[in-house]
């Protein structure tokens, strides 16, 4: 009996944490869910969610998903190559620690300052733009603009690559030297090592990391906001416009868009969790 009483008292100590989580996480989340299905006047409706499949909302989802896919796949693969280049034998050890340190900072260097750094580089007066213009080739006259979807993708790479490097480095460490030696002893070539050992071992971590990167880009708001002043139609930008602009005639539509983002990310997690489980098998 006394054991049971102690247990119930033990639970009490965690009440503040759970109370905070409920108040600031679950109730607001529930509020989005309810709001997404509420009509402007009264009652419940699927109208808001149905409207997400019309212009411009469906286009925003397409653009957001496209930007996230492009930056996560290209960023993921390029990040893998950079991380492998830093970790593989033959590369001085200090390069790896320098890369990890720098990635820790760069993965956190997003938003407004990042947008500015790219404007200073590739904007209309950016140093690279000016450099090319001086040499007789004006990028802006060839339809290349930083304030476009491609520009946003290029800028997002600045936080996608470092995140990939940080996330994938432990998996690359898991590629044991013995496997490479064993493969070589059995007459396997470099290519065969990667085809039959390296890529299959890394694949679950690689896919998991790419999905993480997808969510990272999908959630991004500040960078695109500052870079394009809202001209590139992304879901977070559209939601933000509903709050900061004067177009808030139906707040439930913004809540429905937020709900839609959550659905996309939930689908992502459904893929991510089993991949993460498989990847964990090869970790040290």
């Amino acid at each position: 009996m006394s054991g049971r009483r102690r247990l119930s008292l033990a639970w009490l100590a965690t009440v503040p944490f759970f109370a905070y989580t409920i108040l600031f996480l679950f109730l607001p989340a529930g509020s989005v869910l309810i709001g997404a299905f509420q009509g402007t006047v009264h009652g419940y409706t699927f109208g808001n969610v149905r409207q997400l499949f019309n212009h411009p909302y469906i286009d925003a989802y397409k653009t957001s998903i496209e930007v996230s896919l492009v930056t996560s796949v290209i960023g993921g693969v390029a990040g893998l190559f950079i991380a492998y280049a830093a970790i593989r034998e033959g590369t001085p050890r200090w390069i790896r620690s320098a890369l990890t340190t720098f990635s820790g900072v760069a993965a956190n260097f997003g938003g407004i300052p990042l947008a500015f750094a790219f404007i200073a580089t590739l904007g209309p007066l950016g140093i690279i733009t000016v450099f090319f213009r001086k040499h007789g080739w004006d990028p802006t006259q060839h339809g290349l603009s930083l304030f476009s979807k491609t520009g946003v993708e290029l800028t997002y790479m600045y936080f996608q690559l470092p995140l990939m490097i940080l996330v994938i480095a432990p998996a690359i460490d898991g590629l044991r030297k013995e496997w490479r030696e064993a493969s070589a002893n059995l007459g396997g070539s470099q290519l065969q090592f990667w085809r039959y050992i390296g890529v299959p071992v890394l694949m679950p971590s690689l896919l998991g990391a790419i999905i993480l990167l997808f969510g990272n880009a999908f959630a991004a708001y500040a960078t695109a906001y500052s870079l394009t002043s809202g001209t590139v139609n992304l879901v977070p930008i559209l939601i933000g416009a509903y709050y900061s602009g004067n177009v808030l005639n139906n707040p439930h539509l913004a809540q429905a868009m937020a709900f839609g983002m959550f659905v996309v990310l939930a689908l992502m997690m459904v893929i991510y969790i089993p991949l993460q489980r498989r990847a964990a098998r090869w970790a040290k």
Binding site: A10, V32, A85, N108, G126, I127, N216, A219
Partner: protein
């Protein structure tokens, strides 16, 4: 070094350093003539009252967020490690949620849910915004502190303290806290970096924090914005550098940060 490895590292270095060099060059140009080199942009920043005001708001917000999350997490994680180990996965899962939910979705929910609450909470950064930032800090605080608690023997320390007659509060403050100091500092530096760069929630709830000020200068004056950008990068560096410094001690774990986007 293999040629291909060299090539990849070179490409990476170019991609990462050129924007920083470009920003540095921009920060040295005169805002009137556009020519190099002047320190006027830096002195403009230092003499701007709005800069100090917004920086102060963000720094105090960071401090408040750190204090609240430490008060929330240290006793909870201590208790979970000591008495309720079965609860650990539940708390780990809850702490991970803010890492997955985009801030833009979070702020939509917070704005709707807390609409109509008293203005000392809803209209003040110290209320609404700090409340939201504690949630943003969840993953970083939890995983830093959890690693710290795992590296020490919570049971032995607690038993030793209690057999000497110490109360729970004494045990927590004088025995446990000094042993997880490095982990608490690591979580605090991560939180600092997050709060100092957070834009989405502050913008949608219309509070004038430091990133909002940078965006305002961005829109109005190009070259001073460059010096602010470098300053902001410097703050991130300082926070991450401090993290690495305390990280040398055992038990701070390697936290991956994905901050302001």
């Amino acid at each position: 070094m293999a040629p291909s490895a060299f090539l990849w590292l070179l490409l990476g270095a170019l991609y990462f350093f050129i924007p920083l060099i470009a920003t540095t060059l921009f920060s040295l140009k005169s805002n009137q003539t556009g020519h190099c080199c002047t320190a006027a942009n830096y002195s403009w920043v230092i003499h701007s009252a709005a800069f100090w005001h917004s920086l102060k708001i963000s720094a105090l917000l960071a401090l408040e967020t750190i204090v609240i999350s430490l008060l929330l997490f240290v006793p909870t994680i201590y208790w979970v490690h000591l008495k309720l180990p079965k609860l650990r996965p539940v708390i780990a899962f809850l702490a991970l949620i803010p890492f997955v939910v985009p801030p833009i979705v979070m702020v939509v929910g917070l704005l709707r849910f807390f609409k109509g609450t008293p203005s000392w909470f809803y209209a003040q950064p110290w209320g609404f915004l700090a409340g939201a930032y504690v949630i943003l800090a969840f993953p970083y605080m939890f995983f830093s502190l959890d690693a710290g608690f795992r590296a020490i023997d919570v049971h032995t320390l607690t038993e030793a303290s209690q057999s000497l007659g110490a109360r729970w509060t004494t045990t927590l403050v004088k025995v446990i806290l000094p042993n997880i100091r490095a982990a608490a500092l690591a979580g605090s530096f991560l939180t600092l970096a997050i709060v100092m760069g957070e834009f989405t929630i502050a913008n949608l709830s219309a509070f004038h924090t430091f990133p909002i000020f940078i965006q305002y200068v961005n829109e109005s004056q190009g070259f001073p914005a460059a010096s602010l950008t470098l300053l902001s990068f410097g703050i991130t560096w300082a926070a991450m550098g401090s993290l690495l410094l305390v990280g040398r001690k055992r038990g701070t774990g390697g936290a991956v940060v994905a901050g302001a986007r």
